[in-house]
């Protein structure tokens, strides 16, 4: 997703000379083509995220679209007050980019696990939150994001992820969810790169004769409530999947709607259950340990159908 983002950003920077890229001293390989092509529109703010985000707000006020790039929690939790007060409150045209949502940097340890950002950024008024599920969604979402004004948060995975969508996501309508797979017994709703696990779960369920629909939400906020309501009406049970805490993120957003609808459809949330990932391991290992992988999702779905 990271490389797709960089490629699309380069194309957009070619056509729009008011886009400026800021990094907190990160992105060595990924951003090099950009800083070589647009040296006058590239700012390395240093390892100084609060200063960087305030600076982004001020620069945006001079009629620019400012991309703020960092990894893990560094562009969100560290400068959160700046995101809230300087960017979101002012409607600043600043796009906060996180590479490494969830457990991408698994083995590096908890400081590099972005597992509360979806909850926290969702709670800030005036921040549009994008959670693309694969490189194809990333391309669509990035273009839309760069052509809309306002503060945005884009939570990416890493480089070299597999594509989940069989082809390009053409003409994506903001903020609609995308169906990856039809199904009739249960629906699996996913936000972010953990989409691969939702698809894997659907395949496991199919092998047991359970038909699971898979829907990806490339936009966490605003949430495609219409689709959520349709799914609540059409199914007895939904499983939400995110590489994020179950508290306050995507699953909670779906539960909010479910509770208000009162349709009788039950929701189960897959995610980190209010804990830090303290075991050492890579992304897939941690997903297994913390019961967020395809097998765990399928098991939760089966449990819900009993």
């Amino acid at each position: 997703m990271r490389d797709t983002f960089a490629r699309v950003l380069k194309e957009e920077m070619e056509r729009n000379d008011r886009i400026v890229l800021m990094t907190g001293d990160l992105g060595f390989g990924v951003l090099r083509p950009l800083w070589e092509r647009f040296p006058e529109r590239m700012i390395n703010a240093g390892i100084a995220e609060q200063g960087m985000v305030s600076m982004a707000a001020g620069l945006a006020a001079t009629g620019r679209t400012v991309i703020v790039y960092s990894i893990g929690n560094f562009p969100t939790l560290r400068p959160l007050e700046q995101v809230r007060n300087d960017c979101a409150y002012h409607g600043a045209d600043v796009k906060i980019i996180c590479v490494g949502g969830g457990f991408v940097y698994g083995s590096l340890g908890m400081s590099h696990h972005a597992t509360e950002d979806m909850s926290v950024m969702r709670a800030i008024p005036g921040v549009t939150c994008f959670t693309p599920g694969d490189p194809a969604e990333t391309e669509a979402v990035t273009r839309v994001m760069l052509r809309r004004k306002g503060t945005c948060y884009l939570r990416l995975g890493r480089g070299n992820e597999p594509k989940v969508h069989p082809s390009a996501v053409k003409d994506w309508v903001f903020p609609k969810a995308l169906t990856l797979r039809e199904g009739t017994d249960i629906a699996l709703l996913s936000a972010g790169g953990i989409l691969t696990q939702a698809v894997d779960a659907a395949e496991r369920l199919a092998a047991k004769g359970i038909s699971a629909k898979v829907v990806s939400f490339p936009c966490l906020k605003p949430l495609d409530e219409e689709t959520v309501r349709e799914l609540l009406a059409a199914f007895r049970g939904l499983v939400t999947v995110e590489e994020n805490t179950v508290t306050g993120g995507f699953g909670s957003a779906v539960c909010e709607i479910a509770a208000e609808e009162g349709s009788g459809c039950r929701v189960r949330r897959i995610g980190l259950r209010d804990c830090f990932a303290t075991v050492v391991g890579d992304q897939q290992y941690l997903r297994q340990v913390y019961e967020m992988d395809g097998a765990a999702i399928a098991a939760k779905a089966e449990e819900l159908l009993k």
Binding site: M55, G58, A61, E81, Y89
Partner: protein
């Protein structure tokens, strides 16, 4: 019942103060600051009184701004990073014609646009809403960077408190400003040597403060922050600093609560609201100081 404006302007010839004179505008900032804090039962009068001449000189003698065109593209930008002194900027804006002086009486009031910390929403002339310390300089860095990228000559001024310089974000911004050579950015520190529980010295020492800024790659000078002529000269040097490759900081030595004897250097008046006899006594002292 007399209007707010009449009450503030009474005592001037024909009720029309000469707001082009920074000493007059500074007095009006104190007078309205007292009145607004009294009416709202608000705080921060000490901070408003210390920054009065700084704001007055900026609006009378330094800033290229137009009350009839608050968003003209080539305007100078002022950011009040110490947002709790918002009533000082509100008063300066009203008195120089950005909005009616009468509106100042709505400070803090339910339904008004004049919030306790300076707000840009619905207030012509305010660039940025602040209140959480440590943000304003960084926003100024971004604006000055934009100006530099555009090859524009307009200036950016950020007014900070001394206690505010405890915030690490201020120093991130200081490093960044120097790195990008933002020589059309000027920071002004309202150096009143007091914070909210005690003095700066007993909280987190800043001295040698001027040296710290130089060490961060800034051109720096110190000035008496209540001497309007000295401030004008300092801002003149800040303006000429363009082309030096370094941002500029003016350390304006001030007195918290300046203008009312029992408020001066008195930590109580960071928060305390002027009511009853204290309000009357403060008013009497200010009246005697009217230019």
């Amino acid at each position: 019942m007399e209007s707010y404006e009449a009450r503030i302007h009474s005592g001037f010839p024909e009720g029309k103060p000469d707001v082009s004179d920074p000493r007059v505008l500074a007095w009006l900032i104190r007078r309205s600051g007292l009145e607004m804090t009294h009416l709202s039962r608000g705080s921060h009068i000490g901070s408003v009184f210390s920054v009065a001449e700084i704001i007055a000189v900026l609006y009378t003698s330094v800033l290229n701004v137009d009350p009839k065109d608050p968003k003209k593209p080539d305007r100078d930008r002022l950011i009040l990073s110490k947002g709790h002194a918002g009533s000082a900027v509100y008063t300066a804006l009203a008195e120089t014609g950005f909005f009616p002086v009468e509106q100042l009486k709505t400070h803090y009031a339910n339904g008004s646009v004049l919030s306790g910390h300076v707000s840009h929403k619905g207030v012509p002339g305010v660039e940025i809403s602040t209140g959480a310390l440590g943000h304003g300089l960084g926003i100024g860095v971004g604006m000055a960077l934009g100006a530099k990228m555009d090859g524009a000559d307009w200036r950016t001024y950020a007014v900070l408190g001394d206690g505010e310089c405890d915030e690490g974000a201020v120093w991130e911004s200081a490093l960044q400003a120097a790195q990008y050579g933002l020589d059309r950015l000027t920071a002004v520190i309202d150096y009143n040597h007091m914070q909210s529980l005690t003095t700066v010295e007993k909280t987190l020492k800043l001295e040698p403060f001027e040296q710290k800024w130089r060490d961060f790659g800034w051109n720096a000078e110190s000035v008496d922050g209540h001497d309007t002529e000295a401030l004008k000269a300092a801002f003149g040097r800040a303006k000429e600093n363009a082309g030096s490759g370094k941002p500029y900081v003016i350390l304006a030595h001030t007195v918290k609560g300046k203008g009312v004897s029992f408020m001066e250097n008195n930590i109580l008046w960071h928060y305390r609201t002027p009511q009853g006899e204290e309000y009357e006594a403060a008013l009497k002292e200010l009246e005697a100081l009217r230019p």
